[in-house]
């Protein structure tokens, strides 16, 4: 108990999470008399989980993409296609951010790559600065429900459910969150429906010609994954090779000499994620030995009888967790404990994954640690407080979408083959 409190304090003071989880696992195993080599043996499990291959590959591909001008081309193309609609530019923001986030895995690069392009354009098009700030910040984590999102892959690994099913289940909820934001944009800007530009075939053709090499990428990757032709890690390998060829050899926007730096930046993130994943394999194992999930089930079921209250509590709890933990840490720490409890209430594990990731998407926007708040504040040079206030209405809209996703399981499960 005392050790637990000390570790909580250390965590709150900023100790790295791998050390906290590691200390927990070491103490737990030591107390139950298990040889402590059990911990490195569990960490070595990283080398026994084939699907993990997708994580370094997709992360690196995402970093290379965000170093190139792919974001600018994507914005130009979608502006040419839907910019002529009333409120079109806001919808361009929502659509491009989602696609870009799905491919870069939610590491916050979307705001830097796309937000920086859209922010001045939106303000120029007559959207208020505050609205623009909120829109760009909240769009920066949309898209985590679409393939090949890293959080869904990691959930699949931890919960031992099919990642293909998770990708299929994420489609409708992901689109729902996009539509919610887009509808809000239209509603808020009723009086500013000045279209961005006349629709012009010439611009569409020019935009397509400019991004002709990148256009096949989402088709090949998403088509390959959703159709089942590629396993997830194969799709990752194809993506990396394709992105390297296109951005380094064809567009020549990412010169070879820049690659070592990009490798480092992306692998630092991968190392951080896989290290806590590996160590949490050990701590989870200990907790299962110590019957922590069973105790948790008893605790919860003795107080909450029906599924609806449980789901409400779950979303509230996840929002709280989202305030203090990054999505990857939350996944490895919370999912192993929550999964058996949720199953007791008849929540499908695939649906639970969608609830988890959708709610944690909001976590990117919640103070005090919401990543997007800080990236926006830094990138657009605004106080964090101002970003928080600007983002608040968007958070509420997304929260409504999250509740719909939570209480209508069919949104997630209809597309998943039984």
């Amino acid at each position: 108990m005392l050790a637990g409190l000390a570790m909580l304090l250390l965590a709150l003071l900023g100790a790295p999470l791998f050390a906290i989880i590691g200390a927990g696992a070491l103490l737990g195993f030591a107390r139950s008399g298990v040889d402590l080599t059990a911990v490195p043996i569990e960490i070595y499990g990283i080398a026994e989980t084939p699907i993990l291959l997708a994580i370094p590959l997709f992360t690196f591909a995402g970093y290379v993409l965000s170093e190139s001008r792919a974001a600018a081309r994507l914005v130009r193309l979608s502006a040419a296609l839907i910019g002529w609609l009333p409120g079109g530019l806001a919808m361009v923001a929502v659509a491009t951010c989602s696609l870009f986030t799905a491919f870069t895995g939610g590491s916050g690069v979307t705001i830097i790559a796309i937000g920086a392009l859209l922010f001045p354009a939106l303000v120029q098009a007559g959207y208020s600065e505050r609205f623009t700030l909120g829109l760009v910040t909240s769009s920066g984590s949309l898209g985590l429900l679409f393939a090949p999102s890293l959080p869904l892959i990691i959930y699949g690994i931890i919960a031992e459910v099919s990642i293909d099913s998770l990708f299929l289940a994420g489609i409708v909820p992901g689109v729902l969150m996009m539509l919610a934001l887009a509808a809000f944009c239209l509603l808020r800007n009723r009086d500013n429906r000045r279209p961005l530009a006349e629709f012009s075939w010439r611009e569409v053709r020019a935009a397509i010609r400019e991004s002709i090499w990148e256009l096949p990428l989402p088709v090949v990757v998403l088509g390959g994954i959703y159709s089942g032709y590629f396993a997830v890690s194969e799709a990752a390998a194809v993506t990396v090779v394709y992105v390297l060829i296109v951005e380094s050899l064809i567009y020549r926007e990412v010169p070879w000499r820049r690659l070592p730096g990009i490798v480092r930046d992306s692998m630092v993130l991968v190392g951080g994620i896989l290290l806590i994943l590996g160590i949490s394999l050990a701590s989870t194992n200990y907790m299962i030995d110590a019957q922590v999930p069973q105790q948790l089930i008893e605790l919860v079921t003795s107080r909450i009888s029906d599924q609806v209250s449980f789901l409400l509590l779950l979303v509230g709890f996840l929002l709280l967790i989202g305030c203090i933990l990054h999505i990857f840490s939350a996944l490895v720490l919370i999912v192993p404990l929550m999964l058996p409890v949720a199953e007791r209430y008849g929540v499908d594990p695939v649906h639970l994954g969608i609830i988890f990731v959708a709610t944690m998407e909001l976590g990117y926007l919640l103070p005090p640690i919401g990543l997007n708040l800080y990236i926006s504040s830094y990138r657009f040079n605004r106080p964090v407080m101002e970003v928080c206030i600007a983002t608040l209405p968007f958070i509420l809209i997304l929260l409504v979408a999250v509740l719909l996703i939570t209480f209508v399981p069919a949104l997630s499960l209809a597309l998943v083959p039984k």
Partner: protein, 174 residues
């Protein structure tokens, strides 16, 4: 400003060499992974089957990329953390907290390094093999090495928390 370095100290050859070594190893491991994974996809699509040992090699490369990335993350001090309280602490307390936290991280890493070492030693004793007849311990050795380096990194970083405390006369060009 005649002083070129704000810290009044050369970043150091060890620092540059270490960073270069990390980057080179990471790039080597990642590009080997990309090459091998891409070959597997081509083989499967064209001939219906890949190389037998490649999947195991890919998993070992993922382990190496993860641990090398973790070493690099310690150097850049970007491991995932919560850090809710320390920003509210006054200066001296914050430094104390930072020292405690780094000592704790170094201690846990050192213990993990020790038991990883024992794990590797046992695996060597038993003659575990990977990739056909290669000794497994050579590939597992990245675990103790990484945790030892991470522990070292947190210990080596300790002095930073004290330096800002020193009077400025040490670096004054007077």
């Amino acid at each position: 400003m005649s002083e070129s370095s704000p810290e009044g100290e050369d970043p150091g050859r060890a620092e540059r060499l270490g960073r270069w070594l990390e980057n080179t190893l990471l790039a080597a491991v990642l590009f080997a992974m990309i090459g091998l994974a891409a070959t597997q996809v081509v083989m499967r699509s064209a001939f219906g089957g890949g190389v037998a040992w490649a999947d195991e090699a890919l998993r070992l490369l993922v382990l190496w990329a993860a641990m090398l990335g973790a070493i690099a993350a310690s150097r850049d001090n970007v491991h995932l953390r919560i850090d809710l309280l320390s920003r509210f602490l006054p200066g001296a307390w914050r430094r104390l907290a930072a020292v405690l936290v780094d000592l704790f991280a170094a201690g846990v890493s050192a213990v993990l390094a020790w038991y990883s070492w024992r794990f590797v030693a046992e695996s060597r004793e038993f003659g575990d093999q990977v990739l056909g007849d290669w000794p497994a311990w050579a590939f597992q050795a990245i675990l103790p090495a990484a945790f030892a380096l991470i522990a070292y990194r947190y210990l080596a970083g300790l002095h930073k928390h004290f330096r800002r405390h020193l009077p400025a006369t040490g670096t004054d060009p007077a």
